[in-house]
Every structure is written in C-alpha cells, then in structure tokens.
C-alpha cells in the first residue's frame, strides 16, 4: 500500500555522517522516505520550507549552528511545526528537553523502528529477503 510522502518521510537531524548514512539505509530498507540534515538551522529551514512535513523527526541534541534543544523549543512554539512528532536521540538523556520522547544512543535499531512505526506509514513493504528474527537481534 503506497502512502503519501508526508506519512512516510522521516527527517534525521544528526551531524555524525556515518550514523546518518546507516539510518538512511535502514529507513529506506524498511520502506520509508528519508531526509537528512546535519545542523539545527538546516533542519528548521527544511521544516519551514517543505509543504510536506515529515511523519517523525529523529533529532540529535549536540548540533552545529543551532542545537537540538533549541530546535525542539522552536518547533513546539511554531503552530505549523508543533504537531510534528520528535524523537530525541542522545547519548545523554539528562540533556533532553522536558517531556520529550527520548532514545538513548547507541541506537538499538529494533527499538527505533518500532518507534517510527508508531508515527509513520511505509511507502512500500520491506524487502522479503531479510534475515530471520533471531538473526536480527544484535
């Protein structure tokens, strides 16, 4: 079942290039659209300019230009962005904004994908040739 781009686009905001590449591949494999930006300023610019808001923002906290806490606060204060779900991904959850949904790094992919599934709809089914459930567990 194909879905609208809005329902299946995950925005990853993180400055760790290798991690972003892995997440891009994971989300793509799982049937989601992926957008990635490496700093808070570009994240806000994208969110404000795009007509199609993402179904979830995976937001790192320590970012160049504008940090994740500031991005979170600005989004929550902006009527157009306040309803966009945010998952804060950080190595130090004590730094996360109050009330935010938080995932501790290193990210456990099963947990991350379970979270994405709550907010997003796949644009296609994941490839049928994936590993067994047992083999998936890290």
């Amino acid at each position: 079942m194909r879905s609208s781009e809005a329902e299946c686009t995950v925005l990853v905001v993180d400055d760790e290039f290798e991690l972003v590449q892995t997440l891009r591949e994971v989300f793509t494999d799982e049937g989601y659209h992926v957008r990635t930006v490496s700093n808070g300023r570009d994240a806000l610019r994208y969110l404000r300019e795009t007509a199609v808001k993402p179904c979830l923002v995976v937001l790192d906290l320590i970012l160049p230009m504008l940090d994740g806490n500031a991005v979170y606060a600005i989004m929550k204060a902006d009527p157009e962005l306040a309803s966009v779900p945010i998952l804060v991904s950080t190595s130090d959850p004590s730094r996360a904004p109050a009330g935010a949904e938080v995932m501790r790094k290193p990210i456990v992919l099963d947990a991350l994908l379970a979270h994405v599934e709550r907010y997003c709809v796949r644009r296609k089914e994941p490839p049928p040739s994936g590993p067994s459930e047992a083999a998936r567990r890290p």
Binding site: T22, S91, A135, R137
Partner: protein
C-alpha cells in the same frame, strides 16, 4: 600625680615649656587641675586656655580641691580663655600670624605680669592640640614656636597637651619627634610621672627601653611574617590558577569524550546492528556481533569516564527519579546474568514491596555492577544471593552476597577508583564500577557498605530511601 613631676621640672621663676600626652579627657583634666592647682597654691597667676568641655571639667576638679575660683578670678589670679575663640583671633589662612598672636596673647600675658611683678604665670593651653586634630600639624608647630619665642622673653610656665591618638599613624613618630623637640620637657602618658625617685624612674626607663626593643623585634618579625604570607598568598593564587586551568581542561575533556568520541562509536554500534539485520551469513553475523559487543563495552567505559570526570570536577551525578520497582528490575538482571553465566547459581529473594522513587537506569547500572562483581570475584562453588528487603516503609535494602573473601588490605580500597581490580589482576574494566556505584547510591541519598569474612563470605549492603528527601549529588 603627674603634676608633681611637672612641678619638679619647674624652676621657681624660669620659663618652662612642657607637653603632656593624654589618652582621655578624664586623665587630662586631672593632670591639668593638679598643675594649675599647684600654681594657685604657690600664689602664681594661672591661665587656662581650653575648650568649653575641658574648662568645665578642670574647673570642677579645682573646685573639688577647695580652690575658690571666683575669688581667684576677681583677684586676677585665675583667667579662663576659650581655645577656639583665641585661636580664631590670630589664625590667618589656617596659620598663626605672629603679629596677631603677640597682640592677642603676648600683650595680654605681659599686662598680667605687670600687675604682679616677680610672680610667674602658669598657663595651660590646648590650641596646638586643636590645630593638630584639624590635620594642620604645621600650624601647631608654628604656634609652638611662637610660644617658645614668648617664653624666651618672659618667665612663663606653659603646659601644652596633645591627644596621643594624633601620633598613631604612619607619620606619628615623625610628628611626635617634632612636638617633643618644640618643648623643654615631655610628660609621657600613663603613670611614668608617678615614680617617686630617680632610681624608680631609671628602672621604669629600662623597662620601657626593653619594651621598645621587644616591640622593635616584634615589628621586624611581623614584617618578615608579612613577607612570607605575601609569598604564600602569591603561591596559593598561582596554584589556584593552575587548578582552574586543570578544571577547564577536565571540562574540555568531558565535552570531547562526551560528544566527539561517542558520536563515531554510536555509528559503529548502530551500523553493526544494521549488518545483523541485512545478512544471514553466519561468519558476518559473528563478526558483527563481536563489533557490537566490543563497541558496547567501550561505550560503557566512556560513560564511566564521563561520570568519573563529572564527580572529579565537582558537578556530581544527576539522578532522574521515577517510580521504580526494584524487584522487577532485579528479576530481569538475574535472568540475563544467569543466561550469560550458566555455571553459576544466582538466588533472588525478596520481601515486602520494593518500589521507590529511584532512577531506574542508574539503579540498573548499580545492581548490574554489584551482581557482576559477585559473580566474578565470588566462590564458584557457592551461589550468589541477592536479597531485596522492602518491608520498611521508608527505605529499601539490597544485599548482594557471594562466598568469596575480600582481603583486609583491599577492603579500604573496595570503593576506590582505579585501584587495579579487587584481585589485583588485569581486568577488562576501568576499575570505576564500584566507585560509581557508591556515588550513585549517595546521589539517591543512600549508603553502601561491604563486610567480608572467611566464614560469612562477602556482603555488599545498600540502603536507599524510598523517596528523595533533599536534592543530592554524588
């Protein structure tokens, strides 16, 4: 008493210019009244030049000594002048004018002398003290000079007075020397003048010299001490700057480890997870598993180093409290540990309700460390026991028991950071686990203790308040 010394200094008809140092008005009025009273008793003419307050006090003392001042005044033997008024009459731009002084003071005294030729005038004056007190010592010394000129011409016994406090500052010694130099005779404060004979005065002088020498030595010692203190202060300031720099570097290190080092590690771990998702190849899966395992161990070490650094720079450990069921948490840990250590027996026993406002993640870290230590360092043949006691309404108690023994020399280092492992062997850990465990227990407001004996094995006992009482940091 001092007046008797003053009297001894006075030749019957010569001029004499004396100075009295005084500490307080009471002692001054006593000295002056004795001095003037002796003059009145000897039939001399007496002049009192003083402030209104001092005149009143001196007059009262003379009256108490049965002098009839009204009668003496009427007979021209006793004259009172106001020091402020008289001074104002001959000061020009803050300095005494010689011509005006002669007209106002000199001529007046000479006129008195002409009424009783051959009778000396005895005067007390404190105009110089007023000038010195007004921070005008030059004018005071000029006035002393005018008095000296007058004494050279006419027989006059003149007693001046200065408050001793005028000479207490840095320039005090110089000022006092100048005042003493302007007089024929100096009457010290205190009781030196009360000494009855020359021998007593010599003894007192010797004592005073000794005190002066001792004071001089003390000043030298204190000056040296002050120098030492300055050096110590300077060294402490420099050490403080070094410590500040060290703290700055520590914080820099924390930031670096916290972000720059963890970021690529996060990518490694997540990417290794990804490999296990996309492949069914057994060799690749085992390799990815090893990457994951090592990376996770490294991630834990980084977390420990960060916690350690936070404690070292005084920031403490933060706990995020929430309703936590310790029993549920312990059950999960025991199950996991039993699966990774199938040869060991781990027994969990509990009583009461083990629920409290605790940081679940941090408590997992604490219990995991205690259980792993019990398994690693305990007696393999004996079970590890985890006892959970929730029977107290205010606190929770956790005891981890193993059959091993901690040697007495290791006991004091049990919770110390990086002491090389409990058995002195190389381990895969940093040696921060138990140190951070204690810090986390304390951050929860609790306490931890260890007891070990050959008979009873080793027990680590943790006591935690169920609720936060005050905000704690480790």
């Amino acid at each position: 008493m001092t007046a008797s010394v003053i009297d001894r200094a006075l030749a019957p008809s010569d001029s004499c210019h004396m100075v009295q140092l005084f500490d307080n008005d009471t002692s001054l009025s006593e000295v002056v009244s004795q001095y003037l009273g002796a003059g009145l008793a000897a039939g001399e003419m007496v002049i009192l030049i003083a402030t209104a307050a001092h005149r009143s006090a001196i007059r009262r003392q003379l009256t108490d000594r049965a002098f009839d001042l009204e009668r003496a005044q009427a007979a021209g033997l006793y004259t009172e002048l106001d020091a402020h008024d008289l001074l104002a009459g001959f000061l020009v731009d803050g300095r005494p004018d010689a011509t005006k002084f002669e007209a106002l003071v000199g001529d007046r005294i000479e006129a008195m002398q002409q009424t009783r030729p051959g009778v000396r005038i005895r005067a007390y004056g404190e105009m110089v003290d007023l000038l010195w007190g007004d921070d005008n010592p030059a004018a005071a010394l000029e006035l002393e000079s005018l008095w000296n000129d007058f004494c050279a011409r006419q027989p006059l016994a003149l007693l001046c007075a200065y408050h001793a406090a005028h000479f207490g500052g840095d320039a005090g010694e110089t000022g006092l020397e100048a005042v003493c130099g302007a007089h024929d005779y100096v009457v010290p404060r205190e009781q030196a003048g009360a000494l009855p004979d020359a021998n007593g005065r010599l003894r007192e002088l010797t004592l005073l010299q000794q005190r002066a020498a001792a004071l001089s030595l003390e000043v030298t010692r204190r000056t040296a001490l002050e120098g030492d203190l300055r050096e110590a202060l300077s060294a402490a300031t420099a050490a403080h700057a070094v410590a500040d720099e060290s703290v700055r570097y520590n914080e820099l290190f924390t930031r670096m480890v916290g972000h720059d080092l963890r970021n690529p590690l996060n990518a490694i771990v997540t990417t290794a997870h990804y490999l296990t998702r996309i492949s069914t190849e057994p060799k690749l899966l085992r390799a990815a598993q090893r990457i994951t395992s090592s990376s996770m161990r490294m991630a834990r070490m980084i977390e420990q180093l960060l916690d350690f650094t936070r404690i070292q720079v005084g920031k403490g450990l933060h706990v995020e409290r929430g309703t936590t069921d310790l029993l549920q948490l312990c059950q999960g840990l025991v199950t996991t540990l039993q699966s990774t250590h199938p040869g060991r027996t781990i027994v969990l026993a509990s009583r009461g309700v083990a629920v409290g406002e605790l940081d679940a993640e941090r408590m997992t870290q604490v219990l995991s460390t205690l259980l792993l230590n019990a398994v690693h360092y305990g007696d393999d043949a004996r079970p590890v026991r985890l006892d959970l006691d929730g029977s107290d309404p205010g606190s929770l108690t956790v005891s981890v028991h193993n059959g091993g023994v901690v040697s007495p020399e290791v006991m004091p280092l049990f919770f110390a950071p990086m002491h090389g492992g409990l058995k002195g062997e190389h381990t895969q850990a940093l040696g921060l686990g138990l140190y951070l465990t204690r810090a986390l227990i304390r951050a929860h407001g609790g306490e931890i203790a260890v007891h070990s004996s050959a008979a009873g094995g080793t027990v680590v006992r943790v006591e935690l308040p169920r609720q936060a009482t005050v905000e704690m940091t480790a």
